[in-house]
Symmetry: C2
Subunit: 436 residues, 2 copies
């Protein structure tokens, strides 16, 4: 049942096929490091498919010594089926991004154990007992180290791939290396920046309660201009290598550890998009929380932690990013020689603040886009979906939409992260009239 009986060569090692059970077992048995890590005889390994994402197969394989996770891309969108093809090359970009992130932010992404480009397969460290952060947030769990870990990940992956850190020639090579990942970018362009704002077939929302709101969003031209500007920024602002899908479902956590997974949407894009993904999803966690209460006020301390986390993510990210800029500015932007002496240093420091203010505005806008797409678009999230009473769910969603609209249309009125959490706190008490 192993290579003796079915040599990999004969199987066509470099030809794509979907690996399941026996095939996968045979394949892994041929990888000495993986086999050693798993331990015991391949016949005894347990293999279970656990993928709950929208796109891929994910297996957990366990041997006598340890376990691994194996992710294989399918040539179509798993959630939808073969009618929606999606290139296998996304596995190439995911691998490239994982390697890059591991270098820039060590210990914050799963270690890659093996990669087969032709099979679109990546074998990774098994994250255990980590859970998907979104699930933890739905259950009301606080993560005391999340801010520190996530802001290290964000500051280092974004700063260290930007023109502030990397010479232009090298950055342009990076942009080119990821430019082929456009099919994944296109998903974002459509599902986040376009579909929720018109009658796209795949849209859904908590009906009938949000029917009127959804209709308003489809007519709201202020919103359409604002989201179009964000889309243009997404299309043509390769500021840094972004993760591209950094919601709380792409983060695995324990009380003490944080790992960012699934960077298959990675490309050179606007930094605010990753920041907005984190902040937007935390805002949804906060505003969905009321829907998960079994007794009034039960989750108040969790909710206070979420708001505090939102504030601290920006504050700590900003502090770490600017710190890197002071210490590791090896890029071609903001040439040091133009800011020499004490006056120059002070002026550059002021310019760093101005830069962070512009980035903050981007983050506010992208946060809003991430919220709206989860309530009016195709892909929803369990923060809201697991609220059983649909009317209560709609109330939480309506609050989120109200805040998101303000953030998108009038981002400049949110001058600080405190203004964002203040608005979130206020909208938490708003009672939408859903029965008109």
């Amino acid at each position: 049942m192993n290579s003796q009986q079915r040599p990999l060569g004969a199987l066509g090692q470099d030809e794509y096929r979907i690996l399941r059970d026996t095939d996968l077992r045979d394949y892994l048995a041929e990888l000495p490091e993986v086999a050693a890590l798993l331990g015991g005889s391949p016949g005894g390994w347990s293999i279970s498919e656990v993928g709950d994402g929208n796109l891929n197969l994910v297996f957990i394989v366990r041997g006598t010594k340890g376990g691994i996770a194996v992710k294989q891309a399918l040539p179509y969108v798993r959630l939808v089926g073969e009618s929606w093809p999606l290139p296998l090359s996304r596995s190439h970009y995911e691998h490239l991004a994982l390697v890059h992130q591991a270098r820039l932010a060590p210990g914050l992404v799963p270690a890659v154990l093996h990669h087969n480009e032709a099979l679109a397969l990546i074998a990774m460290e098994l994250l255990e007992p980590h859970i998907i952060m979104r699930k933890g947030l739905v259950s009301g769990t606080c993560y005391p180290h999340f801010v520190d870990h996530m802001t290290t990940f964000l500051a280092r992956t974004l700063f260290l791939s930007s023109d502030l850190a990397v010479p232009a020639a090298q950055k342009k090579e990076g942009i080119a290396a990821f430019s082929g990942n456009h099919a994944l970018c296109k998903i974002t362009e459509d599902l986040i920046f376009t579909d929720p704002y018109f009658q796209a077939e795949q849209n859904r929302w908590t009906s009938p309660w949000l029917d009127a709101t959804a209709a308003h969003f489809r007519e709201d031209l202020d919103l359409h201009v604002a989201v179009s500007r964000l889309k243009l920024k997404f299309l043509a602002s390769p500021e840094a290598l972004v993760h591209g899908d950094l919601h709380t479902g792409s983060i695995m956590v324990t009380e003490n550890e944080t790992r960012v997974i699934d960077p298959e949407f990675a490309f050179y894009g606007p930094m605010g998009f990753d920041l907005g993904a984190v902040i937007g999803n935390l805002i949804m966690s906060y505003l969905a929380s009321a829907g998960h209460e079994r007794a009034p006020g039960e989750r108040r301390s969790f909710e206070a932690w979420v708001l505090e986390t939102i504030e601290n993510v920006w504050a700590e990210f900003s502090r770490k990013f600017v710190g890197l800029w002071r210490d590791e500015a090896n890029g071609d932007a903001y040439a040091a020689t133009l800011f020499s002496g004490e006056a120059g240093a002070a002026r550059l420091e002021a310019e760093r603040r101005a830069y962070m203010d512009r980035l903050f505005q981007d983050m506010v806008g992208f946060s809003a886009a991430k919220i709206i797409r989860r309530i009016l678009g195709l892909a929803h999230n369990i923060d809201f979906e697991w609220i059983e009473d649909p009317r209560l769910r709609a109330i939480c969603e309506a609050r989120s939409l109200r805040l998101a609209r303000a953030m998108m249309v009038d981002a400049p009125s949110f001058r600080t992260i405190g203004a964002v959490t203040k608005a979130a706190r206020e909208v938490r008490d708003w009672q939408p009239d859903l029965d008109r």
Copy 2:
């Protein structure tokens, strides 16, 4: 003396070598279409090297029937010598850009007759009796069709390679295709956005008259912040395939024709950079004009034409660009479906104006950068250089620097192109105190 005696195969057709005289003659004789176009026997062709640019060899070859221009890249910067190497691949990008521009803006670039990638050689239509526009401007010649031709070139090459016109996947392929041209971008990054603002070895200026001004520019932190922001935009805003070096020395003209040449700096960058090159160089032409007067007021009507041209370049570009946006918006930005109906159409039209306002601001800033680099940096231009009296030259240059500084540091105060020409007119009468 032709292929019979020295077959191309033996010469190593695909290996780079500098072609001159006999080699070039033999090479061209092997190209049936080129030979037919030239006419007569190869032995009778005249070959003269006419390159007056900074980088390449340029030959004019004439036969009994016609002539061609042959451009061959050298593996170093011609102006400086072998100590400054520069990749031959720039010829590849120039060819790519020429083909692309010919498709988007037919009749406004020289036709390519032959390209040899390995030799970094392009044979082109001989532009005759065209002259370099800058020379015509120095001599006080007006070009009545320039506005129409140049704005067609700008509007079509920029719009039709942008996210407004091209689907994202195709645009990303374009970005990747030009990403290897970073050595040429680096020249711009250094010579335009960095060197003039510190004591770079290669800088020069009209000394001693501009010594104090040059010193001020090296200390002016408002300017350093502004130019650094422009540089960041140059580094990371692939809005469209830009020419990258669109000064009046890259334009050949007759009274009735206009051709844009030398796009070897082409890459995906900010549209405002090409616009700024045109406007900045016209501003220099205007402010240098006083230096070429043989009698007071002699060039007044030329100067009035230049100012009018500056205004019309922006107005016509803007009109044509927006027209293309209305008619040929096949890109992924500003999805039509989000602006349906009469109200949507009106709102999108308003957003087009807002877009053009942002582009105008970029143009103002980049114009200023193009002016400053020609007066305080390495590469100067004949608009000023051909003013024989150095004190008079310095006066013209000081006026240009004064206007450029205002445009760069306070671009938003220039709300319209009329504000730019008004400021140019005012500074034309300013008498700088150069003897302090």
